[in-house]
């Protein structure tokens, strides 16, 4: 296989996300790239259009708190058992970010439309909700295959992120990335123009060489760059590799209630050495 993927440092990886880019991020529980998020904050990224796939938490809250995002498209932002996402909530209330509320399968449908090069994908449900009422980029048509007289059907426009960014368990030297059962990471990468990945480790085996590992692998053809970042999801937990750092998360939830507290957290938490 031709080697087209390149290996970068975390800060080099963060430099691959231009200001103003649309940036797809996975759920906190399934590959949130926290070390890369800190690198984005360090480089002073701004005007990002965040696409949560389909929800987010700490990753989105930190980027919003740091002033890196102008728009958030999401189905939910929460710190889970540590409560609401304080900087997100404050920014929405202040109108400091534009919010595009969605519902989980609508975000997948938009990404899958992009994955398939389609202008849109249909989705059942949603009609009659205020989620739909406030989305002027969504359309309802009368299903042309309807057996009934009328059958309103939602169409979601394609979501094609400029960059997808996530954390994964491992990559090989060719840039193939093990994603296991996290199939939504494949959808993100297929849909995005470029995909940047941080990994716990780079392994010497070719992940595509055996069928068992290939089945859970995102091939390098979709991967623009990889950065090795051990404990790259910290302070979140990551799969069965490490649990969440509950003290850190509680600390964050407490400090981030105020802009000052958040700034203090950032100063401590985004120094290059932290989390590596």
């Amino acid at each position: 296989m031709t080697e087209t993927c390149c290996f970068l440092s975390l800060d080099e990886l963060a430099a691959q996300v231009p200001d103003g880019a649309s940036l797809a991020l996975p759920k906190d529980s399934a590959g949130a790239p926290m070390a890369a998020v800190r690198a984005l904050v360090r480089r002073g990224a701004k005007d990002l259009h965040l696409i949560n796939v389909p929800t987010s938490g700490l990753a989105t809250d930190i980027l919003i708190g740091a002033g890196a995002a102008r728009l958030v498209e999401t189905s939910g932002v929460s710190l889970g058992e540590f409560g609401g996402a304080p900087r997100f909530n404050a920014a929405v209330k202040a109108g400091a970010v534009t919010i595009r509320d969605a519902t989980c399968p609508a975000i997948y449908a938009g990404l899958q439309a992009a994955e398939k090069g389609l202008p849109f994908m249909p989705l059942r449900g949603v009609i009659g909700s205020d989620v739909l009422a406030f989305r002027d980029d969504w359309k309802v048509i009368d299903n042309p295959f309807a057996e009934a007289a009328v059958d309103p059907l939602l169409l979601l426009p394609a979501i094609r992120p400029e960059v997808a960014l996530f954390h994964a368990r491992r990559a090989d030297r060719l840039g193939n990335v093990w994603i296991g059962v996290q199939g939504e990471l494949a959808i993100m990468a297929h849909a995005a123009e470029r995909t940047l990945v941080t990994v716990e480790e780079v392994v010497e085996d070719d992940l595509m060489a055996r069928e068992e590992s290939a089945a859970g692998t995102l091939p390098a053809v979709y991967v623009s760059a990889v950065a090795e970042a051990p404990k790259g999801a910290w302070p979140l937990g990551f799969l069965d590799l490490y649990p969440a750092d509950e003290a850190q998360l509680a600390d964050y939830a407490r400090l981030a209630r105020s802009a000052e507290g958040f700034a203090a957290y950032l100063e401590r938490g985004c120094a290059p050495a932290v989390g590596r």
Binding site: T74, G128, L185
Partner: protein
Amino acid sequence: MPLDCRPEELLIAAIARLLRGCRNIAVGVSSPIPGSAALLARAESETPLRVELLESLDGNSFTRGSVELFDRAAQGRIDAFFLGGGQIDGQANINLVGTGDYPRTAVRWPGSFGSAYLYFLVPRVILFREEHSRRVLVPKVDFVSAPGVSAPEVYRRGGPCALITGKALFRFDRDRRRFRLESLHPGHDLADVLETTGFDFDHDAAPAATAGPDAATLEMIRGPVAREIAKAYPKFAARVFPRA
């Protein structure tokens, strides 16, 4: 004679009864009580019953990513699901987004998650919210994350079947588009529920009491259910089932 049980155990037993006859139950994130109820329903079911705990790494059978939950619901492979709400109104509309004028809501909650879709596709959606107050149970939600009822031309294979709070169990009548109080949990009375519910609902003059778990069920809850739910919700399990 009712057994002495914790309020969580009563809720678990009551929800499990609502799940009878299901073959596939999915439980979303941050849902230890519904999760326990689903596990109890599975333990008590005479026919095969699958439970998918979305919270848990190995507590579900999704191998193509979390999009598979939504596809499975559309395929008719999910019979029951749970939703909550920062606000819930008398037409079973739920609000997971916030209070006040959208988008700059005075209070912002996380967001609608999959509710705007699953509420239409899953036959038996159970609304669960422990807090029973006029703050939560409102005449009309400020933002409809997912509507409780739909116009007849709207494709809808599922919807609300019940609402269970810390005080009472309501059934939702889809034809009348109203809740009916089914039972009051022990220790709560109708006057209090009328006082603390912001929407109108139907009720008997003397509503029944929500049945608690019998001895065998309680043993099941405190034994295998407690051990299983602890894998996904260790803190909840440690608090509610200290001896499991």
